[in-house]
């Protein structure tokens, strides 16, 4: 036998692989299938169909169907525009979906703006590399406050409309399971992605084994950073609230009192009454019809004290104090133009529940 350590090692590895292949899969699996009798049962075909909704980049899982850009526009305006804007461009609630791509990108499959340091922001259409991802996510998670409520036709239609906004498909296009693979060939960033990195934990993508950033652990007189280049400006000192109230009241340090100017020196003593103040909103919250507001996903667009998608409860109460009937009707019918460009969709809520919320708002929207 050869004395070469290299050959010996490869022989040993082959043996290990042989033993593993022979011993592991079949018998280990058999034994564990029988090891836990009575645990788990077979899923019925209907159960699998009810939950197995994912669509892969090779379109495995995509249901048959079709939807037009025109139909998509209708669905969009009633169910999507309130968060994403009429043209998918809105940055009010979520990052913009559309913008930043060109006809040239559609040809090359690389979004040129991604190479620019000065291009502000990245839209979904600049990033997405597989059209299945759009279809799958709209189908499983949209609209935001009523996920999984779209029909298959509506998902095709909304996807078509979104692609049309990005000039990937024409105005008269109907997206279907039959032509979606051709649409994939027009996605602006289909070629702009890579798995050649070391941050996937397995070898499935055959990425690289070595991390991309290689630092050394110098211990003394190290070259390096000497100049402070970035620090929060003084005017932002209190932007995250009073840090004195975000730190423990005992121990090696206190939180800085950011209601006072920087450099005021000594930690200000925080009265022990602070915890009681923190607990207060919880007790008071019982007054608001929280469960109704949450159940009807009002809280997705409204907050007690600041503007989200729509006005705060406080603002509504201020403008429409005492007008419970008006408010109850608005909740059920929806509306637009009163508070800016973002419309409020009609809520499917019982008259009684809408009345309760309206009365609370009309009475001042106490937290």
């Amino acid at each position: 036998m050869s004395s070469s350590p290299k050959r010996l090692a490869s022989w040993a590895m082959a043996l290990v692989a042989l033993v593993a292949a022979a011993a592991l899969p079949a018998s280990a699996q058999e034994s564990s299938r029988d090891r836990f009798p009575g645990i788990g049962r077979a899923a019925t075909p209907a159960e699998v169909a009810a939950w197995d909704i994912d669509v892969r980049p090779d379109f495995k899982g995509l249901p048959k169907g079709a939807g037009s850009v025109a139909k998509g526009q209708d669905v969009w305006e009633s169910k999507c525009a309130s968060c994403h804007g009429v043209f998918g461009e809105s940055n009010e609630v979520f990052a913009p979906l559309v913008g930043g791509t060109t006809d040239e990108d559609i040809k090359t499959g690389r979004v040129a703006n991604l190479k620019r340091n000065d291009f502000p922001g990245r839209t979904t259409l600049m990033k997405v590399s597989s059209v299945s991802t759009l279809w799958d996510y709209i189908n499983r998670a949209m609209p935001w406050n009523a996920p999984k409520s779209l029909s298959t036709e509506e998902v095709y239609a909304v996807t078509a409309y979104l692609l049309n906004l990005g000039r990937i498909v024409p105005d008269d296009f109907t997206l279907s399971d039959a032509n979606i693979a051709q649409v994939q060939q027009r996605l602006p960033n289909r070629n702009g992605v890579t798995t050649a990195h070391s941050m996937w934990p397995g070898r499935e993508f055959a990425g690289t084994a070595q991390p991309d950033v290689k630092a050394a652990a110098c211990m003394s007189n190290c070259p390096g950073e000497t100049k402070t280049t970035s620090m929060l400006p003084d005017h932002a000192r209190n932007a995250h609230g009073n840090l004195a109230q975000q730190n423990r009241l005992v121990g090696a340090q206190r939180g800085a009192d950011t209601t006072r100017p920087a450099g005021s020196g000594s930690p200000s003593p925080v009265p022990a009454a602070a915890p009681a103040a923190a607990a207060k909103p919880v007790a008071a919250a019982a007054q608001a019809p929280i469960e109704l507001l949450q159940k009807n996903t009002c809280t997705a667009c409204h907050a007690p004290d600041r503007k989200l998608v729509g006005p705060s409860w406080g603002e509504v109460a201020k403008r429409h104090g005492g007008k419970a009937d008006y408010l109850a009707a608005k909740i059920r019918s929806g509306g637009s133009g009163t508070w800016g460009s973002v419309p409020m969709p009609p809520q499917s809520i019982s008259e009684a529940d809408a009345g309760r919320i309206a009365q609370w708002l009309a009475a001042g929207a106490a937290p």
Binding site: A28, Q29, R33, G40, R41, A42, E47, V48, W51, D52, I53, D54, R56, F94, V111, L114, K127, S130, S132, Y137, A141, P147, G192, V193, T194, T195, H197, M199, W200, P201, G202, E204, V213, A215, M219, S220, N221, T226, T228, T229, S230, L232, A239, H240, L243, Q246, N247, V250, G255, A256, T258, G263, S264, P267, V270, P275, A276, A278, A300, C301
Partner: protein, 446 residues
């Protein structure tokens, strides 16, 4: 100021303001001469800077006057069936960063790392990330389905999963976007907001491979799984089978000895050690085994890393070696000059932390910190280092090295390769500037 622990805490200079002086004289006129004398004696003592002994009264009133809790009857047992922290700990809370997200149902809360000890995050302080709001799901109605490349698609109830032999392991979970706001410059003041999308728990559950084998999984052709949640977003994520086969990936229901908290996926979530939090699918309802990756939203549109050449790295999952000093850290104020134990957390998605170095001069010189037991794989490791603060400005940093030899990079080193337009996977060395006033600020250096 002489306020070092163990010595008498004396009144600070000028503790009697003008109104106070007026009151003292008024009360003196009414005959309270004893009060007048002692008040001025104390003030004079402090004014004679440094003469610590001269000013001391007979002792600390906290010792001399027995408090109520030493002289009365306390609360009975089980006043509170599920105990809460002391009311004096009310400042230790999860918090949102203002303006980070527009909707509270697709938002994050940050764990208060600056106030935690050891490596375990109390379950109620575990950071949160929700995609479409959290739910408190009835466990008796929750189901887990396994399908795809299996001999028999299977359904398990919670009762059945909890009948199986369980394992319990400590692991960190970190959001891929943790520290993401700091890629370009300083954006937030404290380590709660820079690093608080990080938590560590003991998770209890069943290795996913066991369930897959029970369903007769095709372990040769099945190279990826899809994990899917039961909440509105039905979050999905592709996980490599190589990691599942290792037995590390758990279908977990336990967290720190109790059931998972609803905000963290009650009653069932996936645990994927070393991999960013988005893959630890909450409210886990389904596992599908397949031969291709799934191209889900959060691996192809989000959680993609934009490189300087305009390419997006997809399926970036591992949280690389990283550390942060939590004590002292941004937004805090040191009480006084003198001794401190610098302490912080280190972790690596590739295994164990091997070493942590700490610098107090902005990275010029480093000393090796003590690692606190236990040191576990893909888990937080607590480190500390003795330090005597001389009252001069200091820049505190920590640098972790994991068992693969990977060294946590500086910000310029990381940016040198990845540019500045990334959002995810910022594992650069953090710098805290201790100012002469004792106040600690978040800074970046070059």
């Amino acid at each position: 100021m002489n306020r070092t622990s163990g010595r008498l805490i004396k009144a600070p200079e000028n503790f009697i303001d003008r109104a106070g002086v007026g009151r003292v004289f008024a009360e003196a006129k009414e005959g309270r001469r004893d009060f007048l004398r002692s008040a001025f004696a104390a003030a004079a003592g402090v004014a004679a800077a440094g003469s610590a002994v001269a000013a001391q009264p007979e002792g600390d009133p906290n010792i001399l006057n027995l408090p109520e809790h030493s002289k009365g009857l306390g609360q009975p047992v089980v006043t509170d069936g599920y105990g809460k922290p002391s009311r004096y700990e009310g400042n230790v809370q999860r918090r949102q960063s203002p303006g980070l997200t527009q909707t509270a149902q697709a938002s994050v809360s940050f764990a208060p790392l600056q106030s935690l000890f050891g490596i375990v995050t109390p379950s109620g302080l575990h950071f949160e990330r929700h995609h479409q709001g959290w739910w408190d799901i009835d466990p008796s109605k929750h189901r887990l389905m396994l399908n795809g490349m299996v001999k028999t698609p299977k359904v398990f109830t919670m009762d059945e999963i909890m009948r199986l032999p369980s394992v319990s392991r400590f692991h960190f979970i970190e959001c891929g976007a943790n520290t993401g706001m700091e890629w370009g410059n300083v954006a937030v003041p404290t380590c709660q907001y820079t690093h608080g999308m990080l938590s560590c728990s003991e998770f209890t559950g069943v290795p996913l491979i066991t369930l897959l084998e029970m369903a007769g999984a095709d372990l040769k052709a099945g190279r990826f799984i899809l994990a899917e949640g039961a909440d509105g977003s039905s979050m999905t994520r592709t996980i490599p089978m190589s990691l599942v086969r290792s037995g590390e990936v758990l279908v977990a229901y336990g967290q720190n000895g109790e059931m998972l908290r609803p905000e963290n996926g009650y009653p069932l979530r996936l645990v994927v050690p070393g991999v960013q939090g988005v893959s630890w699918v909450k409210y886990l309802r389904r596992i599908e085994l397949g031969d291709q990756p799934y191209g889900t939203k959060d691996e192809t549109v989000h959680y993609v890393d934009l490189m300087p050449d305009g390419l997006h790295r997809q399926y970036t999952s591992i949280q690389e070696c990283k550390s942060v000093v939590t004590t002292p850290s941004g937004g805090q104020v040191l009480l006084d000059k003198g001794f401190y134990s610098i302490s912080g957390l280190a972790w690596s998605g590739r295994g164990k932390v091997k070493r942590v170095d700490v610098s107090v001069d902005g990275g010029r010189n480093w000393r090796t910190a003590r690692l606190q037991d236990p040191v576990m794989s893909k888990c937080l490791t607590r480190f500390n280092l003795d330090w005597v603060w001389d009252g001069k400005p200091a820049i505190i940093q920590s640098r972790a090295i994991d068992e693969t030899g990977y060294v946590q990079p500086t910000k310029p080193q990381l940016r040198g390769v990845r540019g500045t337009r990334s959002i995810y996977h910022n594992n650069a060395i953090q710098s805290w500037l201790v100012q002469e006033s004792g106040e600690v600020r978040n800074v970046q250096l070059s």
